[in-house]
Symmetry: C2
Subunit: 396 residues, 2 copies
């Protein structure tokens, strides 16, 4: 009864979401305190109080016809101006309202820019491991997701493999730093090498290759690590971001695309993105949350909370003998499975210890697992004995 394409999508549906749903069922059986759900990037840190105050202030003080009404499909002009000013303050840029399209989360933004850019068969390259939904998003527009390898151990882009994967059909490279699932941050030197390669390939093929920088985790970084501003490194960069993680509003679906005026074909792209937002059925980003974002974009989430989780989890798992990547940003820990088929490890963790983690193949990388540590500190404390017992069973 359903379309062939959807049959494929349903069959390969997100293991992350399946685990999240499983966790809710298990909580009903074992009690919520006895299920350790590290499946989903659903922040346990509440939104800043300023968000609540802004909501109350807006709905009691502003005109409801404006606050809840239609606006330009790209978003309220005053909201886009406020966000542009905020970005300009951070990065020394000179963006204006005309460079922003408010979107239904970063995922909505990625779909808008991919619909804008992709002809059927066009290739979208990304670096493994990667957020598995990129494959669906490219597929929505009959694009082809192409995986380029990362360097084992560091999970930085493997430049040689990236070079091999870029063809005359390459339309975009999706970069995600801080990275989901590895937690690594690409330093400027690495980004410059990537940029040089893309410039060379653009010239060789006479094409435009866009970087789509998916960066909802930009503001969650540790130990003072610098997160380079990619449009300053490679002009043909479109940035997709959201307030899902930085303001703990993932369910609200509020994000944006930044399309700098320097991008090749800027005028066409921004006009098409505006139309794409509408005809994809989003119409516009949720209106009240747009106005909240404008007021709260300078607010900070509680990075210290995630950092405390990170340290406890990373240090403990290392101590138990697991091989882990030390996270520099985001709130994911990327860990090598103690057994070749990581699905066996994931099943054991779930069945024996009620610990929910996600197999690496969901991110195009077998043999590893992702542990989302945006949970309560106590969840980590209480799950650690289980991780330890499993390590012992595997003889780590």
């Amino acid at each position: 009864m359903i379309s062939k394409k959807m049959q494929g999508f349903v069959a390969n549906s997100s293991a992350i979401r399946a685990m999240f749903e499983e966790g809710k069922k298990m909580a009903a059986v074992y009690g919520a305190d006895h299920v350790y759900d590290f499946s989903l990037g659903n922040p346990n840190v509440p939104a800043p109080d300023a968000v609540r105050d802004a909501i109350v202030d807006i709905v009691t003080g502003e005109d409801p016809v404006l606050v809840h009404g239609y606006m330009n499909n790209s978003g309220y002009e005053d909201v886009r101006t406020a966000l542009a000013d905020h970005l300009n303050g951070l990065y020394g840029t000179s963006y204006g309202a005309e460079n922003l399209v408010m979107t239904v989360g970063a995922a909505g933004g990625l779909n808008v820019i991919l619909k804008t850019l992709l002809n059927p068969g066009d290739e979208v390259v990304t670096i493994t491991p990667y957020f598995g939904e990129y494959r669906s998003y490219a597929g929505n527009f009959d694009g082809v997701l192409v995986e380029a390898a990362s360097v084992p151990g560091t999970f930085m882009p493997d430049l040689a493999d990236l070079r091999a994967k870029i063809t005359d059909r390459t339309r975009a490279l999706i970069l995600n730093s801080p990275n989901n699932p590895t937690g690594v941050v690409y330093p400027e030197a690495v980004l410059r090498e990537v940029a040089d390669l893309l410039l060379e390939k653009q010239k060789e093929y006479g094409t435009e290759i866009y970087i789509i920088s998916d960066e909802p985790y930009r503001e969650i970084a540790y130990d003072g690590v610098e997160i380079p501003w990619i449009p300053s490194v490679y002009p043909n960069t479109v940035v997709g971001s959201s307030f899902s993680k930085t303001l703990s509003l993932p369910g609200e679906r509020i994000g944006y695309l930044l399309i700098p005026s320097e991008v090749d074909g800027f005028a066409d792209i921004i006009a098409a993105a505006n139309v794409a937002t509408r005809i994809l059925g989003y119409v516009n980003a949720p209106s009240l949350m747009q106005r909240v974002a404008a007021r709260c974009c300078a607010e900070k989430t509680n990075v210290g909370y995630y950092d405390r989780n990170r340290k406890l989890l990373y240090e403990s798992l290392k101590e138990y003998g697991y091989e882990c990547v030390r996270p520099e940003g985001a709130f994911y820990l990327w860990m090598k499975s103690p057994v070749e088929d990581e699905r066996e490890f994931v099943a054991k963790a779930k069945d024996e210890e009620q610990i929910l983690i996600v197999p690496g193949r969901s991110f195009g990388c077998k043999g590893w697992v992702r542990i989302a540590y945006c949970v309560a500190y106590e969840t980590i404390e209480n799950a650690l004995p289980g991780f330890k017992r499993i390590a012992e069973k595997y003889g780590l």
Copy 2:
């Protein structure tokens, strides 16, 4: 620089939205009080106070991690239960949470169900005149929109033409009652004829043909007209609705799909719709507004406000000699252009009288115009002399 498909979409972009943007520019030139913008279905009636109270209550009283967090892609279970109960109270049905998918407005819902159902080349029939975005929505999934005629004057479905337009590739019929742009309501007798035809054609072709009932205007109806519940007439009906008009929240993008258990292939369709919601990049309907919708779904908008507008506009335009359809629902007046090419009339209204209306060809019906009267009463009062002058110029 942009995809071929988007080039087409941009070139044929919404005249409604173009007029809305034009109106904002004209307001800056002439002053907002001297531009009469009837272009967009953007309610001028504020959201009920209960919406504001619910928002304040939720953000000050409920756990922000729950209120703003991820939930099942189909929406919060308690919200879906509340909406199902509400519908059951109205229609004597027995829906449950499992029959509902919360969506990013009705437009998001239409895209979810079309993505779920359509293979490339599948046909989606609708009755002219129709909301022009249906063409884009079907095209998003390589479906083909097929126009079936309505009966001149009444704008009811022309059964003979509908019969001719249904083929073995017909996957769905989109019905929209109360109708945008005509304001007509399909009575039960008409719907039964449509249902009988579809049942016959399903049997003839051995296919399933779904009615997709796009009904955001259901609760805006006048003179006690009855709006039949289509799933009770034709079991293979999926309902798409939203709170955009009934709670004056168009910018918030909060709606739902109702997929009754009686629908052919229910289990596959509901599972696929859940996945489609995620991979289209919506992920889920905005979370706070889901919770507001659950609390406020029984609230009524100020139908009397629209009714007062309707009467003034309809009676006056008739008096000036225009041929109009008397609206029974929604907040649109469908009027015959006094000159064959309605674009000439639309341009004259804009240039000479600062009156913004939408040409009928945007709805697949040349020679007519749509006037959205969800505006301030004074806007109508102040625009009427202009409509009168134009009528006189055309010798009505």
